[in-house]
Amino acid sequence: MAARRTTEASSLKPLKPAVFHILLALAARDNYGYAVMLAVRRASDGHVPLSPGSFYRHLAKLIDDGLVVELSQRRAGDDPRRGAYYRLTARGHSVLADERRRLAALVAAIDGLQVAPRRGPA
C-alpha cells in the first residue's frame, strides 16, 4: 500500500464536507457505494453534489487512511452489480467524533462571543 497520509495531524483540520458526509452515512449503517452517495446527497440537501468519480476517489482515500474498510463478505440475496459494501472502522468513528467535538467547540465559541446576527437599523 502507498505511504499512509497521517490522520493524527489532519484530524485537527476541518474535514471536507464530502468526506464528513460520507463518514456520517457509513456511521449510520454499512452500505454499498451508490447507497452512500444517495445518503450524502439527501443529508446535505444536494449541497454536496457527489458524482461517482469524485465519490470513489474520496472513498479510496478513506480506505487508504484506514477510516473505512471494504467488507469481504456479501449479504445473501444481494444484487452483485452494486459492488462492495463498506464499513466505518473504529478509527473512522474516532475521526468523526473528533470532528463533532471540533464543530461543537466552534459553535460554543461563536455562542460565547454572542455574535448574534443583526439585521435592519440598529
Binding site: P52, G53, R81, G83, A84
Partner: protein, 900 residues
C-alpha cells in the same frame, strides 16, 4: 469483474471508455460500483427530460476525466509528496484555460456564440441528412429489408405474395395516400398508407395500444372485425388527446367508417422516410374506399411499392435471382387483356432498403449537400475569427509566457495550456451547437412542408449526430488552436522579456492574422455570391410570367361519389352553383390546374418523315370546361372558347397553345387544322383545332413553355371522381370565398368532399426548395459578412493600437487626420482586394456545383460577382472606418510621452 453481467447499452460502454482515465488498480477496486452508480444516476437523469440528461452527461464526462487523471497522477510513486500547484498538467491546463477565458468574458462569450452558431448549423443540417439518408428504419433487423425498384400493380403483388415465404422471409406492399378524415363538407387531409396484411409482422413492429392488423383483416369487405384502421402515436394525441378508450372508436376515412384497432409506437412512421403514415388501412380496404373504381384488379394500375425481407444468410443477389426465376410465371398470370407494349419484360431489380423508401431523398440530396458546404464555410470563417482572437491574446501575453519560459516551463506545456483554452471554447461551442441543432433542424424541416405536402422527419440525437458534432468541434479546436500554440514555438524568453509587451517582431505574427482576414473575405465572398445566386433564382421564378393569373383564383378540389356516367352532370351543376356565388366572376372545371401535381400527356401523331422523335412528340393535355381560360386569365389568341355544344356526340375539338401550334401544326392559322393523338392502347383520336391560346405553364415553373392541348371536359367519356373547380374572384381575396362556396357546393351535392387552396399558394408550394435555399443562403451569407467584418475590425483595431507610436510621430511631423485615415483604410483595402481576388477565383470554380439549382442565368454571372464584391467592400470599409477614425484622433503629445 463482478459487473460483467450488466446488460451493456451504448451509454454503459461509453462510460467504460471514460473509466480508462483511472489507473487500472483503481478500476479493479471500484469499477463495478462506479458502473452501477452511473447506471442508476443515468436512469434518473433520463426520466427528467433531455435537458437534465445532457447536463448529466456533461457532468459525468468532466467529473470522470478530472478525478481519473488526478487519481493517476497521485498514484504515481511520488504520491506521498506534498501537494503542489503543478500536481497534474491536465488539471492545471484546464484551470488555466478556464481562468484566461474568464478574464475576458465578452470576447469568450462572442467566441462561444459564433462557434455555437457555426457548429449548430452544421449539426442541424447533418441531423436532417442523417434522418433522411443514413438512418435505418426503426424496425426489427432493418438490414434485411429490400425494395423492389419501381411501382407495381396489385395482381403482380398478389403473385409475389403467394411466393413470399418460399423466396424471401415475407414481404408487403403499400401505397402512399392522403386520406380525408372529415365526415362531410370540406376535407381534413392526413397522410396515410394502404398496407398489405403482413406489413407489421414483416417489419417486426407491434402496437402500443390494441393490435396491428394482419392478413385476416386484409380483405375487400373487411375481415372479421369489419373495416379496421391502425393510427400513429401522433394522430392518437392530436385527434384523440391520447384517450385510453380510442380502441373501438370509429374513424371516418374518405367518408367510409373504419374501426380503430391499434395505436403504433411513438417512433414508427411507416416505410416512407419524410412522411408519417398517420392512418394505416389494410390494402383490401382500397376496394371499400374507391368502390367500383378500385385499382385492386387493375392490371395496368401501377400504384404499389413492394418491400421484401431477406431470409437469414440470403444475399440480395440470391433473392433477385429467385425473383427473376418466377418472373415468367408472374407475367403470364397477370398479362393485361389488350396489350401493345412491353409488359414486365425488364428483369426485376432489388435495392437494399434498410432506411426505407423516400421520394424526398432524390429531391433534397443535392440542396442538402450544397447547404452543408455553405455552413461548413461559415464555420471556417468563425474559426478564422477565433484563431485571430486567440492569437491576439497570445501576443499580448508574450511577456507573461516569456517569464514562465525563463522560469523553466517547457514550451510543450505552454502550448498545451493554449490548446486547453481552445478545447474549452470548442466544448462550450459544441454544447451550444447541439441545442441550436435540435431547434434548427426542426425549424428547417417545418419549412419543407407546404400546403399540399407535409414533411415529417424523425431526427433523434443519435450516435451519428453526436459523433459528427464531436468530430466537427475537435477539428475546429485544432484549427483555431493551432495558430496560437504554434506561435509559442518561436518565442524566446530573452526577447519576450525585453519586449515588455510591445514589439517589432509582433508584426511578424500580424502576417498570420492578415492572412486569416484575407481568407475570411474570400470565403465570405463565396457565400455572398451563393446567396445572391439563389435569391436571384427565386426572384426570377416568382416574377416569371407564367401565362396565367395566380392572384384572384381559388381552387376547389372536388371529389364526388356518383358513378362515372352521372359525374359530368354533377360537376356541371357544381360549377354553375360556384359561378352563381356573389363575388365570383367565373368558374370552370378542369382535370388539372396550372402547377398542380397531376399531369396528363399524350403522343401526337406526326406525318412520316417528320424530324420530331421521342419525347418531342409528347404534348401535355388538360380537359377543361367553357370559361376555363377566362377564369385563369389565359388569353385566347384566335378562334373560340369551348361552348355547351362541345359534348359527347359532337365533333371532337381541341384548343392548343402557341407552342403546340409551332411544333405540330402547319404554318398559317392553326384554327381549322386537324391533328391526331395516340393513347397508350394505340387508339388514335382526331381533333379539329377551334382555338389558339397564349402559352402558359402546365406543371413545372422552371420548364420552358411546353406544347399543351385542351379538350372539352364534356367530351371526356370517362371522367374521374375528382376534378378541380377554379373560381375567379371579382376583387376580394380569393380565400374569403371559401365559406360561401362550400355552402353552395353543399346544397348542390352534400356528399362531395372539398379541399380549397388558392392558386398563388399552389405556385408558392412549387417553389419550396428554391425559397429554402434562398432564405438559408442569405442568412448564412449575412452571418459570414458579420463574422468577416468583426475579424477585419479586430485586425485593424489591433494594428492601429500597435502602431500608436508610429502614428503619433507621423502626426507630430505634420500628417493630418485624413492622411492617417487614408493610410489605415489603404491597408484594409489591400487585404479586402486580395480576399476578393482569391474569393472570385474560388467562387467561379465552386459555382459550377450549384448550376443545377439556378434559373435564368449562368453560375458565373459577372453581375453577381461584381455585386458581391461591392457589398463586401462596403462592409469592409465600415469595419475599417472606426479604427481608422480612432487612429486619426490620437494625440501625438500623449503617445510620445508614454512611449518615451
Amino acid at each position: 469483474m463482478s459487473g460483467s453481467d450488466i446488460p451493456r447499452t451504448i451509454a454503459d460502454r461509453l462510460y467504460g471508455v471514460l473509466l480508462r482515465a483511472y489507473p487500472p488498480s483503481f478500476r479493479d477496486r471500484f469499477g463495478a460500483g462506479m458502473r452501477y452508480a452511473f447506471a442508476c444516476d443515468r436512469e434518473i437523469a433520463r426520466s427528467r427530460g433531455w435537458r437534465d440528461y445532457a447536463r448529466f452527461w456533461l457532468l459525468t464526462i468532466v467529473d470522470t476525466l478530472r478525478s481519473g487523471f488526478a487519481e493517476r497522477s497521485e498514484s504515481k510513486p511520488h504520491r506521498s509528496r506534498e501537494k503542489t500547484p503543478m500536481r497534474s498538467w491536465f488539471v492545471v491546463d484546464w484551470r488555466d484555460g478556464w481562468r484566461s477565458l474568464r478574464a475576458t468574458p465578452a470576447i469568450s462569450a462572442l467566441a462561444v456564440l459564433s462557434l455555437g452558431l457555426g457548429i449548430g448549423a452544421n449539426s442541424a443540417l447533418f441531423s436532417i441528412y442523417n434522418g433522411l439518408m443514413l438512418r435505418n428504419l426503426p424496425v426489427a433487423d432493418a438490414k434485411r429489408l429490400v425494395l423492389l425498384t419501381g411501382e407495381w400493380t396489385n395482381p403482380i403483388w398478389e403473385e409475389i405474395r403467394a411466393r413470399q415465404d418460399q423466396i424471401a422471409d415475407g414481404g408487403f406492399a403499400w401505397s402512399v395516400e392522403r386520406f380525408d378524415l372529415s365526415p362531410s363538407g370540406e376535407t381534413d387531409p392526413v397522410d396515410g398508407i394502404f398496407a398489405s396484411g403482413r406489413m407489421f409482422e414483416v417489419l417486426g413492429v407491434s402496437a402500443i395500444r390494441g393490435r396491428t392488423f394482419t392478413s385476416a383483416d386484409d380483405d375487400r369487405r373487411g375481415g372479421q372485425s369489419g373495416p379496421v384502421a391502425v393510427i400513429s402515436y401522433q394522430l392518437w394525441h392530436q385527434r384523440f388527446a391520447g384517450a385510453n378508450d380510442v380502441l373501438g372508436r370509429t374513424l371516418s376515412v374518405n367518408r367510409k367508417l373504419f374501426t380503430i384497432v391499434g395505436v403504433m409506437p411513438k417512433g414508427f412512421f411507416g416505410p416512407d422516410v419524410g412522411r408519417s403514415a398517420d392512418v394505416i388501412l389494410p390494402l383490401g380496404a382500397e376496394a371499400i374506399i374507391n368502390g367500383a373504381e378500385s385499382s385492386l384488379d387493375g392490371r395496368l394500375s401501377w400504384w404499389l411499392n413492394i418491400m421484401l425481407r431477406l431470409q437469414r444468410d440470403q444475399t440480395i443477389g440470391q433473392l433477385t435471382e429467385q425473383l427473376r426465376g418466377v418472373q415468367p410465371q408472374i407475367r403470364a398470370a397477370t398479362l393485361p387483356a389488350q396489350l401493345n407494349f412491353d409488359y414486365l419484360t425488364e428483369p426485376f431489380e432489388l435495392e437494399a432498403a434498410p432506411s426505407g423508401r423516400s421520394t424526398l431523398r432524390a429531391r433534397y440530396e443535392q440542396p442538402l449537400k450544397a447547404l452543408m458546404a455553405v455552413v461548413g464555410l461559415v464555420l471556417l470563417i468563425a474559426c478564422a475569427n477565433i484563431a485571430n482572437l486567440l492569437l491576439a491574446r497570445a501576443t499580448a501575453r508574450r511577456h507573461e509566457l516569456g517569464v514562465r519560459l525563463a522560469l523553466g516551463a517547457s514550451r510543450l506545456r505552454l502550448s498545451r495550456q493554449l490548446l486547453g483554452e481552445s478545447l474549452l471554447l470548442a466544448g462550450a461551442g459544441a454544447a451550444l451547437g447541439l441545442l441550436c441543432a435540435r431547434w434548427g433542424s426542426r425549424a428547417l424541416v417545418a419549412q419543407l412542408s407546404s400546403v399540399s405536402n407535409s414533411v415529417f422527419l424523425d431526427m433523434p440525437l443519435d450516435w451519428r449526430v453526436l459523433a459528427f458534432t464531436m468530430a466537427v468541434s475537435a477539428a475546429t479546436a485544432l484549427l483555431f488552436g493551432m495558430a496560437p500554440a504554434m506561435s509559442m514555438s518561436g518565442l524566446s524568453p530573452f526577447e519576450a522579456l525585453k519586449e515588455q509587451g510591445r514589439s517589432a517582431s509582433g508584426e511578424r505574427r500580424g502576417g498570420v492574422r492578415q492572412f486569416l482576414v484575407v481568407l475570411q473575405v474570400a470565403l465570405s465572398l463565396i457565400l455572398v455570391v451563393t446567396a445572391s445566386l439563389f435569391t436571384r433564382t427565386l426572384f426570377s421564378l416568382t416574377t416569371r410570367d407564367l401565362g396565367f393569373d395566380r392572384g384572384p383564383v381559388l381552387l376547389a378540389s372536388v371529389t364526388v361519389t356518383q358513378p362515372a356516367e352521372r359525374r359530368l352532370d354533377v360537376f356541371e351543376r357544381l360549377r354553375d352553383a360556384a359561378a352563381a356565388v356573389p363575388g365570383v366572376t367565373s368558374a370552370a372545371i378542369s382535370f388539372t390546374t396550372p402547377t398542380g401535381r397531376a399531369g396528363w400527356n399524350t403522343r401526337i401523331v406526326v406525318p412520316p418523315g417528320s424530324p420530331l422523335k421521342g419525347r418531342e412528340l409528347a404534348s401535355w393535355i388538360n380537359a377543361v370546361s367553357p370559361d376555363w381560360f377566362k377564369t385563369y386569365g389565359i388569353r385566347l389568341a384566335g378562334g373560340r372558347d369551348f361552348n355547351s355544344h362541345d359534348r359527347i356526340g359532337a365533333p371532337r375539338v381541341a384548343i392548343v397553345n402557341r407552342a403546340f401550334a409551332r411544333r405540330f401544326l402547319k404554318e398559317g392559322d392553326p384554327v381549322g387544322q386537324y391533328f391526331s393523338d395516340q393513347g397508350p392502347s394505340g387508339k388514335q383520336d382526331s381533333f379539329a383545332v377551334v382555338g389558339v391560346v397564349e402559352d402558359s405553364i402546365y406543371r413545372s415553373i422552371r420548364a420552358a413553355m411546353e406544347p399543351t392541348m385542351f379538350v372539352p371536359f364534356a367530351q371526356w367519356s370517362n371522367p374521374r371522381s375528382v376534378v378541380s373547380i377554379g373560381v375567379r374572384s371579382a376583387g376580394a381575396p380569393p380565400l374569403s370565398l371559401t365559406r360561401s362556396l362550400s355552402d353552395a357546393f353543399g346544397k348542390t351535392d352534400p356528399q362531395a368532399s372539398l379541399t380549397f387552396l388558392t392558386l398563388s399558394s399552389q405556385v408558392d408550394a412549387a417553389l419550396t426548395q428554391e425559397r429554402l435555399l434562398a432564405r438559408l443562403s442569405t442568412f448564412f451569407g449575412g452571418l459570414a459578412l458579420l463574422l468577416a467584418s468583426l475579424g477585419l475590425y479586430g485586425v485593424t483595431a489591433y494594428s492601429v493600437n500597435r502602431r500608436r507610436g508610429e502614428i503619433g510621430i507621423r502626426m507630430a511631423l505634420g500628417a493630418n487626420a485624413s492622411t492617417i485615415v487614408r493610410m489605415i483604410l489603404n491597408r484594409v483595402g489591400v487585404l479586402v482586394a486580395l480576399g476578393i481576388a482569391v474569393g472570385t477565383g474560388a467562387g467561379l470554380w465552386a459555382s459550377r456545383f450549384v448550376a443545377s439549382f439556378l434559373y435564368g442565368f449562368e453560375p458565373s454571372d459577372p453581375g453577381t460577382f461584381v455585386l458581391a464584391a461591392l457589398v463586401l467592400s462596403l462592409v469592409a470599409a465600415a469595419a475599417g472606418w472606426l479604427p481608422a477614425l480612432r487612429a486619426s484622433r490620437i494625440d501625438p503629445a500623449e503617445v510620445l510621452r508614454i512611449d518615451a
